[in-house]
């Protein structure tokens, strides 16, 4: 019976030399005379912690830590035929619902024919052939999809605004400047299923009346950029991008632009400035890009995961998508699970799944059985949710109520060896480094906040410094020009809210309870 061996060729497994696994396995399968076995390059299989991964779907087995010089088990499993009873799926997989990542680890990311064999570009054909632009927008509105870049603005509403705007030309931009440290959802989607993003962009272009698209991808993701470039070329040759797509009057082209290492370019007006070849500095809104964006024309900007959600919505209907998730947060969300959790990797869950399910059922709990201290979401713009709130459902409103944000999907799990003051200082250091310098509250404020946090960490602060810290956080939040500065105080607010005792221990007792900070012991200090 024929069988497939899917070998992960996304960045994490590749760093563990899965390219050599792919090559060696191809040779071994040929040597063993297994004529009915196909060895296939695929994208992310999800469980990055156990890479390099090889998936044998017909055998019901996922093999972990596969080494190129030790392929005996893989070859034997391929030779043996199906097991009598396939092992039940581990909770890491069975608790996930895969919409955005439905093809990840299944299709060859560098083969458009394989994508099309998995219903790829079917949604584009449906939209162009059977639907008006207004009907496409209506379907996206009905889906309840909200922007997956972090802010959660209703996608259908944004599309409708751009559709109504007038301009000589309209643009679609895909924000692939995934800058939050600890976040790798967009990298994984682009590396695993790039055509899905192109299809979503083309459908969006049709819906809003745009003819040109740009993917702005961060330079730290060379493999994602290469796969997108390959996909663009393939789609153009297949007549799925370019003029007169699928023999309709609609034409849409996509170009790739590389970032160059600036976190602020994730902010939409800074991103546009960067695409225009300048320094990535934001400008005040309004006007919003929907009215005046790239080259002062109406511009639709969504992030990778948002565009990647579009094809299934058009294929299965907005009502289907809206049936997943909660009342206000529809559909699924992809998270990059990282930090002190056992099963680090890429997971996709219905909105409303609790943090506890993600950390303990899917994530397999904390490394070494240590206690979970907090879960950080939203990166430098987000907050820390303490373990007593692990039963919080993951949706936009619940996370905001706890002083964090959904963010783009980075989820870093922390155990009791993490100092929350050090973590706040870490994020402030990040924001200080990445502040573009245009507005004073962010440029100077983040530097002052970092200085105050350093003082606390080093046991040199007084309670007056703590009051100063809170007052300054409030000012930076209220007066900064863009999201970077406005949200930079969030990690401080959030850790102060739930871990104020740790701050006080650093200040009053000159002690770091987690043993991280270089606080001099009380006997030595002064």
């Amino acid at each position: 019976m024929s069988a497939t061996a899917r070998v992960c060729q996304a960045a994490s497994c590749l760093s563990l030399h899965s390219d050599r696994v792919l090559q060696a396995l191809t040779e071994r399968v040929a040597d063993a005379g297994l004529a009915d076995v196909t060895v296939k390059r695929v994208g992310c299989l999800g469980l990055c912690a156990a890479g390099p991964l090889v998936d044998l779907p017909e055998r019901g087995r996922l093999l972990a830590n596969v080494q190129p010089d030790d392929l005996g088990e893989v070859v034997e499993a391929l030779r043996d035929g199906p097991r009598a009873a396939p092992a039940p799926q581990a909770p890491f997989f069975s608790r996930q619902v895969r919409v955005v990542t439905e093809n990840s680890g299944r299709v060859d990311p560098e083969d458009i024919d394989d994508y099309r064999a998995h219903r790829g570009y079917e949604a584009l054909a449906t939209a162009l052939g059977l639907m008006t632009p207004a009907q496409v927008i209506d379907e996206v509105v009905r889906s309840g999809l909200r922007g997956r870049g972090g802010a959660g603005y209703p996608t259908g509403l944004k599309w409708a605004t751009v559709a109504k705007a007038t301009g000589a030309i309209k643009y679609v931009i895909c924000n692939a400047d995934e800058g939050d440290p600890g976040a790798f959802m967009d990298r994984s989607v682009l590396e695993s299923d790039p055509h899905r993003v192109l299809e979503g962009m083309a459908i969006a272009g049709y819906a809003v009346g745009a003819s040109e698209g740009t993917i702005y991808c961060r330079a730290e993701y060379p493999l994602a950029a290469a796969r997108i470039q390959t996909a663009i070329g393939q789609a153009e040759r297949a007549g799925l991008l370019g003029p007169r797509i699928a023999d309709t009057p609609f034409g849409f082209s996509v170009q790739l632009r590389l970032g160059a290492g600036a976190y602020v370019c994730g902010e939409e007006t800074a991103l546009i400035a960067s695409i225009e070849g300048g320094r990535g500095t934001p400008r005040p809104r309004p006007p919003y890009p929907a009215v005046s964006g790239l080259r002062a024309q109406p511009t639709l900007i969504n992030n990778v995961e948002t565009f990647a959600s579009v094809a299934p919505i058009i294929r299965n209907g907005g009502d289907w998508y809206a049936s997943i998730g909660t009342a206000t947060s529809k559909g699924t969300k992809v998270f990059a699970l990282a930090g002190r959790v056992v099963n680090t990797g890429l997971v996709e869950v219905p909105m409303g799944t609790t943090l506890r399910e993600i950390v303990y059922d899917i994530g397999g709990g904390i490394v070494g059985g240590r206690p979970c201290k907090a879960v950080q979401t939203g990166g430098p713009s987000g907050g820390c949710i303490p373990s007593e709130h692990l039963d919080t459902p993951v949706d936009y409103e619940s996370l905001a109520a706890l002083g964090s944000i959904m963010g783009s999907g980075g989820m870093v799990v922390m155990d009791d060896e993490t100092c929350m003051v050090d973590l706040a200082k870490y994020f402030m250091d990040f924001c200080r480094d990445e502040s573009c310098g245009k507005c004073l509250p962010c440029r100077v404020g983040t530097a002052q906040l970092h200085m105050l946090l350093t003082r606390i960490c080093e046991g040199e602060a007084s309670l007056a410094d703590l009051r100063q810290l809170e007052a300054l956080c409030d000012m930076v939040q209220r007066t900064s020009l863009c999201g970077l500065g406005q949200n930079a105080p969030n990690p401080v607010f959030s850790t102060l809210r739930f871990f104020r005792d740790e701050y006080l221990e650093h200040i009053e007792e000159r002690r770091c309870p987690a043993g991280v900070c270089p606080v001099p012991s009380p006997a030595v200090a002064r």
Partner: protein, 163 residues
């Protein structure tokens, strides 16, 4: 290659410059292609030299001040060549809570370099990055372009000594 460009560049770099010029031609010498062109210059020469910035400025018709402004805004660009070897320590969140600071401190002490510096003999550059997105391997160090994960400080120091 344009006559103006030919005047601006050192003659022995002509071959490498033709790669940059080909890229500029492909991009239609558009001023808004500045960042793409700087990427190509850095790929070709390893850094953005003063002559290179002047040549790009002339070819794209973008004032040199603006070219310099862009080149210094983005952390990916470097105005000085890196050493023969590079050691890039990830300081992303997952690496931070998994011991990146200890790795960085060990490398700083061993190489006697601060992040962003290159050894006087040009042997090594020490750099930091904020997350290449392979957090399952934390803590991560990128040694000569290869992402290495789950490292102890001693392992990185061992690599530096073996250079």
């Amino acid at each position: 290659m344009g006559a103006l460009l030919a005047e601006l560049i050192p003659p022995n770099d002509g071959e490498r410059w033709s790669a940059v010029d080909a890229r500029m031609r492909q991009l239609g010498y558009a001023p808004d292609a500045l960042i793409e062109v700087l990427h190509t210059v850095q790929e070709t020469f390893g850094y953005l030299g003063t002559e290179a910035l002047a040549a790009v400025s002339a070819a794209l018709g973008v004032p040199l001040s603006r070219v310099y402004g862009v080149a210094t805004f983005y952390s990916f660009f470097t105005l000085a060549p890196h050493g023969r070897h590079t050691c890039v320590v990830c300081t992303g969140t997952a690496c931070h809570i998994s011991g990146a600071s200890a790795i960085l401190a060990a490398v700083e002490a061993e190489a006697r370099l601060r992040p962003g510096e290159t050894a006087a003999d040009g042997s090594l550059s020490l750099l930091t990055t904020r997350c290449p997105g392979t957090c399952s391997l934390a803590p991560v160090v990128i040694l000569d372009g290869d992402v290495e994960g789950k490292l102890a400080p001693a392992a990185v120091v061992g690599w530096l000594r073996a250079l």
